[in-house]
């Protein structure tokens, strides 16, 4: 592939992501205007349920990585603990409840279920490990 074709392809990829990216930026700006920063801190601070709920929410979320990272960043701004947000972000990228029927059809029911379930568990493990290593 030459430089022109590679650039065109990259530009098209970015263009495809753009509506969602701009949409989430508008939503984040609106949310930050109406909801004060650290609003959720009192609800999730020190809660063990937080990472679990985060991973569950991430498992059903779909969208491009850019939207995932921006949205997750805003969750921190709103006061969600980093552990919860990391579990959410990882589950968003690795677990696919919405895509599960297609994954079962192509890769087999047992594989798809085992993969998604283990991805869910490992998202939590990776989130705990990341926060632990950052605290050292």
């Amino acid at each position: 592939m030459n430089l022109r074709k590679a650039s065109e392809r990259a530009f098209k990829s970015l263009l495809r992501v753009f509506p969602g990216l701009f949409g989430i930026m508008i939503l984040i700006s609106l949310f930050n205007t109406f909801v004060p920063a650290n609003f959720f801190k009192i609800y999730f601070h020190g809660s063990f349920l937080g990472p679990l709920l985060g991973a569950l929410a991430g498992s059903v979320a779909t969208g491009s990585p850019a939207i995932n990272y921006l949205f997750s960043g805003d969750l921190i701004h709103q006061g969600f603990p980093l552990l919860t947000v990391t579990a959410f972000m990882l589950a968003w990228g690795t677990v696919g409840i919405v895509q599960l029927p297609a994954e079962m059809r192509y890769l087999g029911k047992k594989f798809a279920l085992a993969r998604n379930l283990s991805a869910f568990v490992f998202s939590l493990i990776a989130a705990f490990l990341t926060i632990f290593l950052l605290s050292l």
Binding site: A10, G23, A114, R115
Partner: protein, 189 residues
């Protein structure tokens, strides 16, 4: 008659393009913003200001994302790379699963048929699982992640995800091993 049918199909395709997720999200956000503008101009102005600063912070990082995407397009063929994850690929197989997962682009639905073909050809399910886990962290979008979370966090998360994806792959291999059909001929009684 057939051209009318063709036009209808093209119209349906265009319509389905516009109602896809990301456009819906943009439409919904714009509607909310318009409503805010009508109800409380001051809040809408504040939102617009926040949006301006967010876009301004984002643009340089999007340029880096663009350059990374061009480089990946120029030098890596992920679809070809993935085909090297053969049954006895060993450490090379794991490395390819990790790298290909990180740099793979496109919708996951595009990858399923190809992964099925590879699984049928004998590629270990653990490598496929590891590849899919590593799609969670996209190398080309890392600049945006750094903008949001900072370098230290991204580095630690990247290393942890890599290690964890290998562990997941090993577990999936063990789980699926029991299902693997026997290669020896069945005993005839």
């Amino acid at each position: 008659m057939s051209s009318k049918k063709h036009r209808n199909q093209r119209g349906k395709r265009k319509f389905s393009y516009f109602i896809k997720g990301s456009n819906l999200l943009l439409g919904f956000s714009l509607l909310l913003f318009l409503e805010t503008m009508l109800l409380d101009y001051g809040k809408a102005h504040e939102t617009a200001e926040r949006l301006y600063y967010l876009v301004k912070a984002m643009v340089p990082f999007l340029l880096i994302v663009f350059v990374l995407m061009v480089l990946v397009n120029l030098f890596v063929r992920t679809t070809k790379l993935v085909k090297y994850m053969g049954e006895n690929s060993g450490i090379k197989g794991w490395l390819i699963a990790l790298v290909a997962g990180n740099i793979s682009v496109g919708n996951i639905y595009f990858w399923f048929p190809m992964l099925k073909e590879m699984k049928d050809k004998g590629v270990r399910p653990g490598l496929i699982a590891s590849f899919l886990f590593n799609r969670g962290i996209k190398l080309t979008w890392l600049p945006v992640m750094v903008l949001v979370f900072g370098k230290k966090y991204v580095l630690v998360l990247f290393v942890v995800t890599t290690v964890v994806s290998i562990l997941q792959g090993i577990i999936i291999d063990l789980l699926m091993k029991k299902d693997k059909p026997s290669t020896t001929a069945p005993e005839i009684k």
